[in-house]
């Protein structure tokens, strides 16, 4: 180093490696830095959630309104039990959990648009860390926030008459995690393409609402008119919602494709695969933005 840097603390800014050992140490340092960055980005999302309690409240208000008001009101109109022998509110419960996860996972991606609009994104982009770490940290953070909100709603289960055993609870948490994973990734993909806050909300409404309503979250998919049945079967969210429902209501009939009931493990794999593909796409798109 030249004279001007003498006496200053050494930087961790790894200099160009000169030897093989140096190269290994350099790679190690880069890995550590990226790993810690993922953790930090994740932690930041949680800190921000904790500091804006209104977000938690609004995130819970909508599903609770749907579950209790719509559930009670519409349930009274529905004379016969829904397939599987449940009353409407029981049927609706896993649907509302899914809806809550979908909404908050998709909207968690807003933080990317938000960071871009308020400049913090530049602070992250100019740092010597890979963009992949930033996206992964964001996705983890968004997923965690969504799952936490979903878990809070679980306390409503006994009120609407859904019995939760330890086994069912375990299955439920796993399916909620999968759903949150896929939806956060989907949100990330959209966030990388959308520059402004307003357009994000518009796209969300146009994409999110149809996706929720056509997924079997609020009404059973059996005995639908053909056109509607085709659309619901093409909607990937259908399989995720079905997975959540069958975790807590084992007697519920699963989605059928040409008379074949799709097994839960296949649904889980499908959601996992779609989520992974979307996350990979998000990383790619994000790395390309200038």
């Amino acid at each position: 180093m030249d004279a001007s840097t003498a006496g200053r603390p050494p930087t961790d800014a790894a200099p160009t490696p000169v030897s093989a050992a140096g190269a290994t140490a350099h790679r190690q340092a880069t890995l550590t830095r990226n790993g810690r960055t993922i953790g930090m980005v994740w932690q930041r999302e949680l800190i921000r959630l904790r500091r804006t309690p209104t977000r938690i409240i609004t995130g819970l208000a909508q599903p609770i309104i749907f579950l209790f008001i719509m559930g009670a009101g519409l349930g009274q109109l529905i004379q016969q039990d829904v397939p599987g022998g449940f009353d409407y509110q029981q049927f609706l419960f896993p649907g509302i959990l899914s809806m809550s996860i979908i909404t908050s996972a998709l909207f968690s991606a807003v933080s990317i648009v938000w960071d871009r609009e308020f400049g913090f994104m530049r602070e992250m982009l100019v740092a010597p860390v890979s963009r992949t770490s930033i996206v992964l940290g964001k996705a983890l953070g968004g997923g965690t926030v969504a799952v936490v909100q979903g878990l809070i709603l679980i306390v409503a289960a006994p009120i609407v008459g859904v019995d939760l055993t330890v086994g069912r609870l375990f299955l439920l948490v796993v399916s909620l995690l999968l759903l949150a994973y896929a939806m956060t990734a989907f949100g990330m993909v959209m966030a990388t393409r959308i520059e402004r806050m307003e357009s994000f909300q518009m796209v969300m409404t146009l994409v999110m609402q149809p996706m929720i309503f056509l997924s079997g979250a609020v009404f059973p998919l059996q005995n639908l008119p053909t056109w509607l049945s085709v659309i619901t079967h093409l909607n990937p969210a259908t399989y995720a919602v079905d997975l959540v429902r069958r975790s807590v209501l084992p007697d519920a009939p699963g989605v059928e494709i040409a008379g074949w009931e799709v097994p839960m493990w296949a649904e889980a794999l499908l959601v996992l695969a779609i989520g992974t593909a979307l996350l990979a796409l998000a990383v790619r798109l994000f790395s390309k933005t200038d």
Binding site: S4, R33, I47, F118
Partner: protein, 332 residues
């Protein structure tokens, strides 16, 4: 490590940035020595931020090459990023994090070991006078405090070069003076190379060397004193009862060029104060006022670009207003 002469902190050769048909940075070359305080002076839209963005690897260059702290900005992006600190023109803090959390976040991304975190953060907070506020969320900070925190943040990883893009934009004069105190203090203590952009003349005056940039080109580069000396002369301005006659008498007696400007006569001479008494000796018209002014960087700017920096800015003003970052920042 093996070089005898200190390598330049920043070395730029024929750097170009085009956006479509528009050339924002047009064949720019310069070097910055280690420890130097180097300034880019120019109106908004001159290409200052674009140049900094390329040097910080946020934008890719269209042509030419540059290195920062010895690392090539195109082929060694990560090494460049690790060796620089950057204070953006717009604020880039997370308002919902505390001052301390913002600094920690930054330190983690730059690979500062966990064990050193506290030892690095404390003296920096002390230097920018924010020790008492470290646990407070940044949204409760004033614009000046935020800026100071950003300067501290840019230094946590002990960068070789600190880039400051319009560090005092939108701040009131008192806060601006404060920021400069910190910059001076920093230079004394850390001898960090600093590269700043500004469109304020008084800030450019403080630099070791400045490059005047206009419409994407460097039109002059030197120490502020040398640049002013190159303009040459003091400007002596006369307001007289009969400007035409006075102009004739002055040019006949001293052989100088007399220019009518701002309703007065301006004569450029090496020694303005010595010139005034001799001028009175030859003038037979009533003189209402005389003023002598040393050349300023404004004059330098006019000399090289043909217009004042304020006029150059008038055209670029709209762009400035459109930038939501700046708007938000000014409100704060």
């Amino acid at each position: 490590m093996t070089d005898a002469a200190p390598a330049p902190a920043v070395e730029v050769e024929h750097l170009v940035k085009r956006f479509g048909d528009f050339t924002a940075v047009d064949d720019v070359s310069f070097t910055v020595a280690p420890g130097e305080l180097f300034g880019f002076l120019g109106p908004n839209g001159a290409g200052k931020t674009t140049t900094i963005s390329m040097l910080c690897t946020l934008l890719s260059a269209s042509a030419g090459r540059a290195s920062v702290a010895g690392h090539d900005i195109t082929t060694q992006r990560d090494e460049v990023r690790a060796s620089i600190g950057l204070v953006f023109q717009e604020l880039t803090l997370d308002d919902y994090l505390t001052a301390d959390e913002n600094l920690r976040f930054h330190a983690v991304m730059y690979g500062v070991p966990r064990s050193e975190l506290a030892a690095r953060i404390a003296p920096l907070l002390e230097m920018v006078g924010l020790t008492e506020r470290k646990g407070q969320q940044v949204r409760f900070f004033s614009g000046g405090m935020k800026r100071r925190l950003e300067i501290a943040r840019g230094l946590i990883h002990a960068p070789r070069v600190l880039f400051l893009d319009e560090p005092t934009i939108g701040l009131d004069p008192q806060t601006r003076a404060h920021i400069w105190d910190y910059v001076d203090e920093l230079r004394r203590r850390e001898s960090t190379t600093m590269f700043l952009t500004t469109h304020y003349m008084d800030e450019a005056e403080r630099c070791d060397r400045i490059a005047i940039i206009d419409q994407g080109r460097i039109v002059a580069i030197d120490t502020p004193d040398a640049l002013k000396a190159a303009v040459g002369a003091d400007a002596v301005t006369f307001a007289t009862a009969d400007d035409a006659r006075a102009a004739r008498q002055l040019s006949e007696a001293f052989g100088v060029e007399v220019v009518g400007q701002n309703g007065g006569l301006v004569v450029r001479v090496p020694d303005g104060e010595g010139f005034v008494p001799s001028a009175f000796g030859v003038l037979s018209v009533g003189v209402q006022s005389v003023s002598v002014r040393r050349p300023s960087l404004d004059d330098v700017f006019i000399k090289y670009t043909g217009r004042a920096i304020r006029d150059a800015e008038a055209g670029a003003g709209d762009q400035f207003k459109m930038n939501p970052m700046v708007r938000g920042f000014r409100r704060g």
